[in-house]
Symmetry: C2
Subunit: 232 residues, 2 copies
């Protein structure tokens, strides 16, 4: 497989995808035509236009996937795919209802370059049970692509000791996840990403990640860490 | 109906339920025996012990609802109920699997005093689609008690203009909710609560709330505001 799974599409103070574009282009290699899945946002056309404008700067053309037969054919023949961020429940629900989920899984499993950001990274994990998003629609199942064996929590944020807010911290939420599930979770800070190249999985970008496992203390990982043995 | 729906069980710097206890006791009236639903947390026994210790200070005895026939009988005969906070998905899933959801609905609809905090407040709305919680388990349905006609977002927090975090703000998330759903949402800040007494619904506690409706600007509500006409 050939995956680049970004925590976030935009770093604070930078333009869309700027922080990761060198690695995005490395993922794409010689590919200059990218199928874009815009289902995580409500305004699919506006979203596709934004993505097309950004990739035009790199000489890469975008074709937006639509929730119909034409979209299926586009995905089946795509040279590479980008699944954009937004709401993970809406994204997964649309992929399930259109039966595009298994097309995506088949193509990515066969080596088609897969770029995900935020919600598009969430669905690369076995389930969406570690998304931060609000459950605005109900998908038939929380099961997702399962391209990696571990769960990912994008936009991972450390607790702010100065906060007076009493809602659960991200770490509280992931501890609750592990009370009910066994899969390891990678808390991917903004600026960080997961790169899968064949058998090798590494932590890329900046700011690192935290690994949460049932019955163990959280483990801090620095950029460049080898994730190949991160069990599911 | 006779409901007290708290945004949060604990205010920063105060003890458990301290900020709302005067109104909790007003809800209970002469009742001194409270059924407690601990399903939102993993450690039900520890949770029930914490709640029992707090209410003992007020001369109120707690009976913990168990996910079995004895729990059903307890709920059917309870004089009042408290549904505690934690993870909303876990809470709803357990209430669905045990068929206690409709017992709770029937009893609360018939006037039994209902105290909810956080997840226990989320499930008083028509659905859990405006919870902040992580979807750590998958309930069969997101449909909840529907004791009020509007959705509630507990722990509502205004965007922090100094934040460098690029994840969605709460307002972003509620705007996404309204892209997919028509129900009005009450964003209930910490310290605030909803009080339902018969036909009258009011905003209580401190810090106010924000109303989100499709196609309209958010509306700020001050403590004491009348919510009786808040459409679903």
């Amino acid at each position: 497989m050939n995956l680049l799974l970004l925590s976030n599409s935009t770093n604070h103070g930078q333009g869309y995808l700027d922080h990761a574009m060198a690695d995005v282009l490395s993922l794409l290699g010689s590919v200059r035509q990218l199928a874009f899945v815009p289902f995580a946002l409500f305004d699919r056309e506006g979203y596709a236009a934004k993505v097309a404008a950004r990739f035009a700067q790199e000489g890469v053309t975008i074709s937006a996937v639509t929730p119909d037969l034409a979209g299926r054919e586009l995905l089946e023949e795509a040279e590479a795919v980008f699944v954009g961020g937004g709401n993970t429940f809406r994204l997964l629900d649309t992929l399930q209802k259109t039966a595009l989920l298994h097309v995506l899984r088949d193509r990515a499993s066969s080596g088609m370059p897969y770029l995900g950001a935020s919600a598009g990274t969430n669905i690369a994990a076995p389930t969406i049970r570690t998304t931060n998003d609000m459950p605005i629609v109900q998908p038939a199942s929380f099961d997702a692509l399962g391209l990696v064996r571990f769960q990912i929590n994008p936009h991972f944020i450390d607790a702010d000791p100065a906060s007076r807010h009493m809602g659960e911290t991200r770490e509280d939420r992931l501890r609750e996840y592990l009370e009910e599930n066994e899969a390891t979770v990678l808390g991917l800070r903004e600026g960080a990403w997961v790169r899968v190249e064949g058998e090798r999985t590494t932590l890329g970008g900046a700011n690192g990640a935290r690994v949460f496992r049932r019955g163990a203390d959280p483990l801090e990982l620095a950029p460049g860490a080898d994730l190949s043995d991160l069990a599911g």
